[in-house]
Each structure stands twice: as structure tokens, then as C-alpha cells.
């Protein structure tokens, strides 16, 4: 399959990029004043100079910057992400622990945004310039313009404090130990508000794109042909317009998988979710270089994987791409 080799080539091209990113982040962090021992001192509320010297040795900070970088890259080649100074365990373990909440949240809110964006986009396009269109577009604009931390806090105030329908934060209920289906239900109930908060902002983008793309495709010749051969409107929309209008949406998913990881720092903090975003933030504040580089590495891998899948999806949606290469 041509498309597979195409996607494969793109995959191979991303490996040098990945290394450049890691080196860049490493050097950028050297520019930040203070190291992980300063951050630890800040947390402890003081300590003497001898302690600081000993801690620097303990964390391997007594080496020169190039030596530290060389050490890091050599470890990375052997697929060793190193040791986290704030967590006192291997970075790979720390990240693996934090990955499930982030991926759950990301998948849930992306699916939510994609699905409802698609539906509302189609409705808006079919009723263009009439009241459904105006209503949907206005709401979309409001969602898009609202900062997510405010959205999150208001959701907590309304649904957790006043109505008491949903838990205000956390990943699962700590009070009772649950198993099986009940645990899944419990985690799901904890994820409803964060998913909505993160998803609503992206929903706005998806529905705008879907609306524009529907309108564009429905004016094309093949749609007129479809109508001319007597197909009913629903058939025209689902079989001909929708499939072609989906391409920009799929592109957007690939682009936004990366944004979602960054965007979830705020949502994870507001809802106290133990995700990658918060871990990254903490690693920066604590100057935990290994953990931060590990997260960059894993995030980059995620983005590359998602884009790989998107490449394959293109071919599925539009056979011309696979044929022409």
C-alpha cells in the first residue's frame, strides 16, 4: 500500500525531530534560573549551604551541562528515561502512572468534541443563516471565548456544590474501594465535568469547521449530480457531502491531539486529576529535568502516533490520496 509507505516515511522523518526537541528543551531549561535543589530548598523553607552541596551531588548536578546532556542522550538511546528527582523513582514508571487519566480525558473530550461538532456543524449548515445556525454559532463562539479554568470552576460550583450530582474533583472515590464495573462507573462520573470543560472549547472549533466544510462541499458538482439523479436530501448529505466534508475535521484531530495535552494542565489542576499536564507543570517548577524530558518524549510519541493514524484515515476517507500518493 502506497499510503503505508508514505506514512512510514513520515514516521521515520519524525525521529530526528524528536531528538532536536529533546535537546532544545534540555538547553532551554538550563536557561531557567535555579535547579532542582533550589526548588527543593524553596519547598523545605530553608537549609544550609553544606546540605545544598550534598544534594547537588546526590542529584548529579555537579557535572557540567554538556556532560549532563551527553549522559541523558546516551541513556535515551538505551530507552532509559532516567530517575525523577521529585518522585524518587524511574521516570518511565512515573509517566506510566500518570498516562491513563490523561489519555482517558483526552480521548473522551476529543470524541465528545468531534461527535457533537459534527452533528451541530451539519445542523447549522443545513439551516444556514436561519435560527438553528445563528443559535449554534453564537453558542459555539461563547464556548470558544470562555477560559477553561473558569468553565471548570463554574461547573464544580453548579453540579457539585449546589446540585451535588457529580464529584468536584479527583480521579476516583477514595472512601470506598470499588472493583469491576462499579469502579468504571465511578471513574466515569469523575470524568464527566473535566471532559465537558475540555471538550466544549474544542467543540466550538469543530462545529465551525464542519459547518464551513459542509457548505463548501454541498455546492460542488458531484452533489448537484447526486441531487439530479433523484437521491433524497438525507442520502445526499450522509453519503456524498458528509464524507467529503470530514477531511478537514480529521486533519484537525491530528493537529489538536498535541494541543489537548497542553490544554489539560488547567483542567487537570482544577479537577485535581493526576494527569500528564500537571506532572509537566510540577516538573518545570521543581526543575525536574528528567521527568520533563520524559514527558516531552512521551507527548511527542503520542502526537506522532495520532498523526500516523490520521494519515491512514485520510486514505480510508478519500481513496484518491492512496492512489496518487
Amino acid at each position: 500500500m502506497r499510503i503505508l509507505s508514505l506514512a512510514g516515511r513520515r514516521l521515520a522523518a519524525s525521529i530526528p525531530t524528536l531528538f532536536l526537541i529533546l535537546i532544545g528543551v534540555f538547553l532551554l531549561l538550563q536557561l531557567a534560573p535555579g535547579d532542582t535543589v533550589d526548588a527543593l530548598m524553596a519547598q523545605m523553607g530553608g537549609g544550609d549551604a553544606a546540605t545544598a552541596r550534598e544534594l547537588r551531588k546526590f542529584y548529579g548536578l555537579d557535572l557540567s551541562v554538556p556532560a549532563q546532556l551527553a549522559n541523558y542522550l546516551w541513556r535515551l538511546v538505551r530507552l532509559d528515561l532516567g530517575f525523577s528527582s521529585i518522585y524518587g523513582k524511574p521516570v518511565a514508571t512515573v509517566i506510566l502512572e500518570r498516562l491513563p487519566p490523561t489519555i482517558l480525558l483526552m480521548t473522551a473530550s476529543l470524541s465528545f468534541a468531534f461527535f457533537f461538532g459534527l452533528i451541530f456543524g451539519v445542523i447549522a449548515a443545513r439551516g444556514v443563516n436561519r435560527w438553528p445556525d445563528t443559535l449554534i454559532s453564537t453558542l459555539g463562539l461563547i464556548f470558544y471565548a470562555t477560559p477553561s479554568f473558569w468553565f471548570g470552576l463554574m461547573a464544580i460550583v453548579v453540579f457539585s456544590v449546589y446540585l451535588q450530582w457529580l464529584p468536584p474533583g479527583g480521579f476516583e472515590d477514595i472512601g470506598t474501594v470499588q472493583t469491576g464495573i462499579w469502579r468504571i462507573a465511578d471513574i466515569a462520573s469523575h470524568l464527566v465535568l473535566p471532559t465537558l470543560t475540555l471538550g466544549l472549547i474544542f467543540l466550538a472549533i469543530y462545529l465551525r469547521i464542519m459547518r464551513a466544510s459542509m457548505l463548501e462541499v454541498s455546492n460542488l458538482d458531484f452533489v448537484r449530480t447526486a441531487r439530479a439523479k433523484g437521491l433524497d436530501e438525507t442520502h445526499v448529505v450522509t453519503r456524498h457531502v458528509l464524507r467529503n466534508a470530514l477531511l478537514p475535521m480529521v486533519t484537525l484531530i491530528g493537529l489538536q491531539a498535541g494541543t489537548m495535552l497542553g490544554g489539560s494542565v488547567v483542567v487537570e489542576s482544577v479537577f485535581s486529576l493526576p494527569g500528564l499536564g500537571r506532572l509537566a507543570y510540577e516538573s518545570v517548577v521543581q526543575r525536574d529535568l528528567n521527568t520533563l524530558l520524559g514527558i516531552v518524549f512521551v507527548s511527542a510519541l503520542l502526537v506522532i502516533t495520532v498523526n500516523f493514524i490520521v494519515d491512514l484515515l485520510y486514505a480510508r476517507l478519500d481513496p484518491r490520496i492512496a492512489a496518487e500518493g
Binding site: A32, P33, G34, D35, T36, D38, A39, L40, M41, A42, Q43, M44, G45, G46, G47, D48, A49, A50, T51, A52, F58, S85, I86, Y87, G88, V94, E97, R98, F149, G152, L153, I156, V157, S160, V161, Q164, P167, P168, G169, G170, F171, I174, G175, S269, V270, F271, S272, P274, R278, L279, E282, V284, V285, Q286, R287
Partner: protein, 537 residues
């Protein structure tokens, strides 16, 4: 889930209103007639995760709030702030002050069943307090050995006299004991026990899920009879302050310690009868807001300029309008909560006087050209929103007397590095945290000869032989009355020279569910073991 609005019947309504009335006077004795109830889970807001939980190797409230329930100290403070024995039953010092003997309580066991003995105390003191513990390494600098003639006796031997009242006031924070059999041989910092602590305290560590929660359950074999009351404590990691306030309101949290919520949320919840919002129980954690001067700037090495800056800032106005009831006017490095050392307000003070500030600056020869005399770089610490507000207030106040201030913000590590190591600041502002004795926390801000890079120490490029002398004399003075007089002298001297100005005094604010009983009943309550804390129905 708690539904407070469904609980109200006549009795609780009466009790609640009585409680509100009593709370104004004394939140603790309001329910003295109630019988303590066993059971219940106490949920605590944990704002900033630490790297480890053992208070024997890290002195900070973020560790005490958890480790202080699991491990215990030799001595703690009672309701009046006087030392009271915990693991130690009694103590005495020889007249020369070089030997302090602690008699330990009998029949105490670690959570893993091994007996607690003086060997544990000796091991912890020599290997943790003296070598690793921040502040401890300074306090125990002259500790040479701890002898253990029998399992219930630990004799601390010092090279230089150690004032007993300094040691007893420092040990509540710097005297947590760890088990020798778990730490012996091997790197103490890397010991896995630091993240799954084992102690002698009323609560046993159960589980730590990083980024989410920590759980400790009641210790059925605890040495105090009938304690603890709670079945379980859960610390929930919530980094967003506004979200933590919402969780308090949703009933998911019972307690947010150490000013963990935003100023506006604390003010709002103080009007809600489901909560008690108070500075009570945090007197041992007083702090002052600072302005730190860098003497490497020639303008700031002129005492008239430092005094002019102090006179130019209207501190009472700032407190009234930004900090409200949670702060008061400070009078120097020793806060008024320190009953043993507070010298009173009659030391040199710098009340707001703009005309005087301008006169002093003119006299110092810094004339305004185009409204601007000179510019200064101000580095605010990122610890709390009060510092951020205070730095903006400094900026605006000083612009009125012709000093332009540029604010440079950093995160924690960056701030410490730039101020205390690189000295890349003109003015810095943060907190000076007072730890019950000036020798523990305060004199390092003024004593010369501090190694470069040691945070919260004299890095101002300022040295004063007289002040150094007073500090050194007070450190080894054994007579409590004379020590107090020496520290009064010290405050007078540093308020005159003004290398650091400490014009605001604050105590951390506790927000706690009104259902909690026996809370805030000692000056460092948030850090203590909570053996007597209980939740009413």
C-alpha cells in the same frame, strides 16, 4: 454525602448558634461539654506535594501536615505554648549547658511492632537532625554525641553550651524521631521508608498515590489511652486553590491548613457557619513580610535611602485594603506572637511619612530628574498572593517619591537562585518564617558570614560587628531573661540599620469544618499528631 441542610433539627440548630456565639471568643472550648465520638474520616487539603514525608529529615509544614501524624517528636508545645513531653517524659540540663538528658516514655512501639528506645533517638539525632535536617543541622552544629546508658535515657552532649529553652522550643519542629532499624546502613535520603513512613504516632501510613491522595489509618496500639478518635485521615492533593474552596463547600474536604485558599475565598467562607476560619492554632507559624535590600547598589547602602523607602510605604493602608483581618502591622523580625522573645513595639519604627521620605532622599543626594531619582529591580517570592500584592504596592508607593521599580517575577527555584546565590536583585520581598526561637530561624537573616547560596540568610552584602556580637552572645546565653534582653537589643539594632525591613506580621489561616472538635488547640496544631481530634455527628 453530607447534606447539611437536611440535618437541621432544633437541637443542632441551637448547638450551632451557640457555637457561633462561642466561636467569637474561643473556638475550642465551645464544645467542651460534648463527649468525644470515635470514628470518621477526616479529609485534608494538601496543596503542594513534597518529595518525601519524613519530618526527621525535612522541616516544613508540607511534611508535618502528614508525617507529623505518623511520626512523633520528643517534645511538642501545649495550649499555652510551653514545651510538653511526647516521646520524652522529662528532661534536665547540667548547669554548664553542655549536657541535656531526656527520659523517654516506656512501652512505646513502632508501627511495625519493634520497641522504641533511646537508640532510635541517638541514631536520628546524629544522622538526621545533625546531618540532613534543614535548620536542624544549624541547631545541632555543636552536638558531639548522644549517649544511651539505658533504653529510656538519651544524653545529648554539646561542645558549646546549648540553652535548654532554645532546644525545647526548637524540638517540636526539629525533633521528630525515626526508627533506627529501618534507616541503619544505606542512604537515608533514598530510603523507601521516607515515602511510606513508619512511626510511633496515632496514625499508621496506608497508601500514597502520587498526585492524588495519601491515606493513614488509626493506630490501635497507640500509647495514649483512648486515642486517636478518627478512623482515617485522607490528604487530597488539590493544587488549584479555587477548586479546593469548592471542594470544602461540597463537603469533600474538612480542613485546609496554612492559608491554603485564596484570600477572597477565606473571607467568604468565614461568613459560612459550616466552617471556622481562624488564625488560632497557627501562632507557632508566624511570618513577616519583608523588604530585603541589596547593599551592592550604592543607593541602597545609604541608610537614608532605606529609611526613605520604609517611610514611603503606607503599610496600614495596605493591610486594611488587601489583607484584611489576616494580617497586622509588624514591628521587626520577632513577631508579637513570640511571648518569650517579643521585645515590644518600642524599637525604631518607620511610619508612613511621604514628606520625610522625600526629604531623606534629597538629603542623600538623589535628586529627581524628570520625576525619577533612580530605578530598582524588585524580586517578589512566589509563595503567596499577599507577596504579589505587596510588591505591586511597593512599586506604586515608591513611584510617588521618584523611585522607579521594575518587578521581576520568578518561580520558587528561580527566586532563591537569583536573590540568595546570584544576588541579582536590588529589592526582594518574601516571607521570613519565624520558628519559635530567633536562633532557629531569624538571626541567620542578619549574621554576617553566611555561605553564598544559602536561602533566607544574610546575602545583602551587609555586615555589622555589633549585631554579630549580640547574635553570638544570645546563642549561648543560658539564662532565659538575659537571652530575651539580648534579643531585644538585637531587634533595636537591626531596626536601626534596616538591612531587611519586616513591616507586616501574618499568621497562617485555618479553614476547618465546624464539625471538627479539639482542633487548633496548640500553637502549631496543623503540624501536631491530632490524637485528640474528632468529628461530631
Amino acid at each position: 454525602m453530607d447534606l447539611p441542610r437536611l440535618e437541621i433539627n432544633r437541637r443542632t440548630a441551637l448547638l450551632t448558634s451557640a457555637a457561633i456565639a462561642a466561636n467569637v471568643i474561643n473556638p475550642m472550648r465551645a464544645f467542651a461539654q460534648e463527649t468525644p465520638r470515635k470514628g470518621g474520616v477526616f479529609n485534608v487539603h494538601y496543596g503542594a506535594e513534597q518529595r518525601q514525608l519524613n519530618p526527621s529529615i525535612q522541616a516544613s509544614t508540607g511534611v508535618y501536615i502528614i508525617g507529623g501524624k505518623i511520626q512523633e517528636n520528643l517534645v511538642d508545645l501545649d495550649a499555652d505554648g510551653k514545651p510538653v513531653g511526647v516521646l520524652a517524659e522529662s528532661w534536665e540540663a547540667t548547669p554548664d549547658g553542655k549536657t541535656v538528658t531526656f527520659r523517654l516514655r516506656k512501652g512505646i512501639t513502632w508501627h511495625d511492632g519493634k520497641p522504641f528506645t533511646s537508640d532510635d533517638v541517638a541514631f536520628t539525632a546524629m544522622n538526621m537532625w545533625k546531618k540532613i535536617l534543614n535548620y536542624g543541622s544549624t541547631l545541632q552544629l555543636f552536638l558531639t554525641a548522644v549517649d544511651t546508658p539505658d533504653p529510656q535515657t538519651a544524653i545529648f552532649r554539646y561542645e558549646r553550651p546549648m540553652p535548654l529553652n532554645l532546644l525545647l522550643r526548637a524540638l517540636p519542629d526539629l525533633g521528630y524521631v525515626s526508627a533506627k532499624h529501618l534507616y541503619e546502613g544505606g542512604d537515608i535520603r533514598q530510603n523507601p521508608t521516607n515515602l511510606a513512613p513508619i512511626g510511633t504516632g496515632p496514625f499508621k501510613f496506608v497508601k500514597y498515590e502520587r498526585g492524588q491522595y495519601i491515606i493513614a489509618d488509626r493506630n490501635p496500639d497507640y500509647w495514649r489511652t483512648n486515642a486517636p478518635y478518627l478512623d482515617r485521615i485522607v490528604w487530597k492533593v488539590i493544587t488549584d486553590r479555587a477548586a479546593a474552596a469548592a471542594q470544602m463547600e461540597a463537603g469533600e474536604l474538612h480542613y485546609s491548613p496554612f492559608s491554603g485558599l485564596t484570600i477572597s475565598d477565606m473571607a467568604r467562607l468565614s461568613k459560612d457557619k459550616r466552617f471556622v476560619v481562624s488564625t488560632k492554632g497557627n501562632e507557632g507559624n508566624a511570618r513577616t513580610n519583608t523588604i530585603e535590600f541589596n547593599f551592592r547598589r550604592k543607593e541602597l547602602s545609604d541608610i537614608r535611602v532605606r529609611r526613605a523607602i520604609a517611610h514611603a510605604i503606607n503599610v496600614p493602608f495596605f493591610i486594611d485594603n488587601f489583607l484584611g483581618d489576616f494580617a497586622k502591622l509588624g514591628t521587626g523580625p520577632i513577631p508579637s506572637t513570640s511571648s518569650d522573645f517579643y521585645p515590644g513595639p518600642n524599637t525604631p519604627q518607620y511610619p508612613y511619612d511621604k514628606a520625610k521620605a522625600i526629604a531623606l532622599l534629597d538629603e542623600a543626594g538623589f535628586k529627581a530628574s524628570g520625576g525619577n531619582r533612580f530605578s530598582l529591580k524588585l524580586l517578589p517570592a512566589p509563595w503567596g498572593e499577599d507577596i504579589s500584592l505587596w510588591s505591586t504596592f511597593i512599586q506604586q508607593s515608591l513611584s510617588e517619591v521618584g523611585i522607579q521599580v521594575d518587578i521581576v517575577r520568578n518561580d520558587g527555584g528561580g527566586f532563591l537562585k537569583q536573590v540568595y546565590d546570584d544576588h541579582a536583585f536590588d529589592l526582594a520581598t518574601g516571607w521570613h518564617q519565624y520558628r519559635n526561637d530567633p536562633a532557629v530561624s531569624t538571626t541567620v537573616w542578619y549574621r554576617s558570614g553566611q555561605p553564598k547560596g544559602a536561602p533566607w540568610t544574610n546575602q545583602w552584602g551587609w555586615e555589622d560587628k555589633a549585631v554579630d556580637g549580640t547574635i553570638d552572645n544570645a546563642l549561648t546565653e543560658l539564662d532565659p531573661a538575659k537571652r530575651k534582653a539580648l534579643y531585644a537589643e538585637f531587634v533595636k539594632e537591626v531596626n536601626t540599620e534596616l538591612p531587611v525591613w519586616m513591616p507586616i506580621e501574618q499568621i497562617f489561616v485555618t479553614v476547618i469544618a465546624a464539625r471538627a472538635r479539639n482542633h487548633s488547640n496548640t500553637p502549631r496544631w496543623g503540624s501536631t499528631s491530632w490524637h485528640d481530634l474528632w468529628l461530631s455527628a
